[in-house]
Amino acid sequence: MRFLEEYRDRRWAQRYARLIARTVTRPWTLMEVCGGQTHAIVRFGIDELLPDEITLVHGPGCPVCVTPVEILDKALYLAAQPGVIFCSFGDMLRVPGSQGDLLRVKAQGADVRIVYSPLDAVRLAQRYPDREVVFFAVGFETTAPANALAVRQAHALGLKNFSLLVAHVLVPPAMEAILRSPANRVQGFLAAGHVCTVMGYEEYRPLARRYRVPIVVTGFEPLDLLQGIYLCVRQLEEERFEVENQYARSVRPKGNREAQRLIREVFEVVPRKWRGMGELPRSGLGLRAPYRQYDAEHKFALYSSGSDEPEDCIAGLVLQGIKKPPDCPAFGTRCTPEHPLGAPMVSSEGACAAYYRYRRRPSEGHGRREEVSASE
């Protein structure tokens, strides 16, 4: 496949690994921000190619993982209402709320549908005018433009039966929260390439300056990651703290202006609660007043369950790079993909899921949920 095999070339990977080893003179801890990057690192064993001095810790860039339990509870409540068609991307379905997950609500007869685009949900609202269609708008800056477009389209069509349960979050405030934390150990960032494709990377410059931390915008293939790590280590060794763009084949300094315009038109910046990290100021997106009628929380007068993730789940520490999944006493024992304590164990971008899938000795046979589910 074009633009894939090239970035998985064994000789180039070994060459970059040697280059990194020659550059490094002391220990450094780097964080890859995005869960897609975490999975590539663990799946391809990129950390195994690195010299011992370099520690990779995994960041908060998994939208499923950072969605707090109380929003999950709202999703579960809405999905169970008669007349509601609840639409979600697939990997949200196994994430536990305080009372089960969307798959369980679906097994109990709720109309929960996996969609591939928020526009599919708009089409469902057109097709079923007597049903309420709710789309679970989860994600970072990457999914926000399409979700904004869906709201605009529903508005243009005059749909009264379409709404979003909004859980949008923003990357830079989370990075800043990590840097400000007294427990922080991150010395350099690999920023999320796809978020920067939309947003550009100008907003990272003040962060790099203020916290004296190199930020390298990085892609998702093995060679992208190795090159991103190399650029980051080189800056650290040379005591430079700049924003660099490794993912130039996709990312422009100012990003995608049209997409940003769409986001700004429909959404405004709001405070948002993150799983295990609490409420962060100016860290999320909510619908602007003219689009309030498409806000499911408003429309269905939802109130917060106030629930948090279970106490023995260390998702918050994992998402801030303070702990790694195998450091968790519940990892692989009380917390498995079949019986997760927290979202990082079930999301396709979750750090715990990556370690469970690629680093653990597979158990004999499959685990099992409590009731028969369509996903068996």
Partner: protein, 325 residues
């Protein structure tokens, strides 16, 4: 009901079915040392028709292939149908026609069957079950316990087309190139290997759970270590692209016309040459080998990645669900 049965029997009818008895009375052509293989599978695919196949073909080839994986020559099939009230006649006729065509192509007789109609809402259009009987020739011992350290793992062709074709049709996803299911009967190349005396230790078709699950089953039942090479595993560019986009791993995507064969190293080249004679296995290749069971690695499947590192291949938890971004 009478009309339903009449239509199906006359469309499918081989000799034993024509007797309209409660069951088929069969003479099995067994010679000294031959054994019968018997298998069953149910088919609940949605949509019923998809690029490269339909539920009828799946139901025949799926069971024929399960027999072939035992080293059996497929002989007889049964077909059970569960129809949901309101299923259009035309749909049923198309499926029955497809069952007949597939049975003809695979050289098997449909000798007994059953239909039930359930209330609207209690089924999803049409469910099928087939059971199959086949003959395993004397001397053929094809099963996981025959796998030995040093065996080479042969894969019959590219991975993932069936699963992606179904997903794309069901969800209305459009890709630049239409992806067709690989749904096909596999008994001809399999029987050829056996007829030519290739020392086949084990075979497994790569249906639900894909290549990864099939290899894991064999590794765990033998407690041997199977090592495969990522770059040796063929995946078509359009399937790879769809998987990248949806966050799916082709190692776990279902196939309906792919299987792995375990043979001793000395037999691998000859087996590949024979397999490549057939369109369904024209791209057969070696993807890995079986290593002795060591304390640490017995029962494991490991993968040498494209960049030269090694990781374990784990069971999938449930089905793969497409990701957010």
């Amino acid at each position: 009901m009478g009309r339903l049965l009449e239509g199906i029997v006359s469309a499918l009818g081989g000799p034993p079915l024509e007797h309209r008895h409660d069951g088929a009375v069969l003479a099995l052509p067994l010679e000294g040392g031959d054994r019968a293989a018997f298998t069953t599978d149910s088919y609940v695919v949605s949509p019923l028709f998809f690029p490269g196949g339909d539920i009828g073909k799946l139901a025949v080839y799926g069971t024929v292939n399960d027999l072939a994986m035992c080293g059996a020559r497929p002989a007889y099939l049964s077909v059970g149908m569960i129809l949901e009230e309101g299923l259009p006649w035309e749909t049923l006729e198309r499926v029955v026609e497809s069952l007949r065509e597939a049975a003809d192509r695979a050289g098997v007789y449909i000798v007994t069957g059953d239909t039930k109609v359930v209330d609207k809402g209690k089924g999803d259009g049409l469910f099928l079950n087939t059971a199959g009987l086949g003959i395993v020739p004397s001397g053929v011992e094809v099963r996981p316990s025959e796998v030995r350290p040093g065996d080479v793992v042969l894969l019959s062709g590219d991975l993932g087309r069936h699963g992606i074709a179904i997903l794309a049709t069901r969800e209305g996803l459009e890709f630049e190139t239409a992806i067709e299911s690989d749904c096909a009967p596999l008994h001809e190349p399999v029987l050829r290997l056996l007829a030519e005396g290739v020392e086949v230790h084990c075979m497994r078709d790569l249906t639900r759970g894909g290549l990864a699950s099939a290899l894991l089953e064999i590794a765990q039942s033998t407690q041997l270590h199977i090592e495969i090479e990522e770059t040796a595993i063929p995946v078509r560019p359009e399937v790879q692209a769809a998987c990248e986009l949806l966050g799916l791993d082709p190692l776990y995507v279902a196939n309906e016309g792919r299987w792995v064969t375990f043979v001793p190293e000395g037999e691998a080249e000859r087996a590949l040459t024979l397999l490549r004679d057939y369109p369904v296995s024209a791209e057969a290749c070696a993807i890995g080998r079986v290593l002795p069971a060591s304390e640490a690695l017995g029962g494991l499947v490991t993968l040498r990645t494209a960049i030269g590192t090694t990781r374990t291949v784990d069971w999938l938890s449930g089905e793969q669900l497409p990701r957010i971004c």
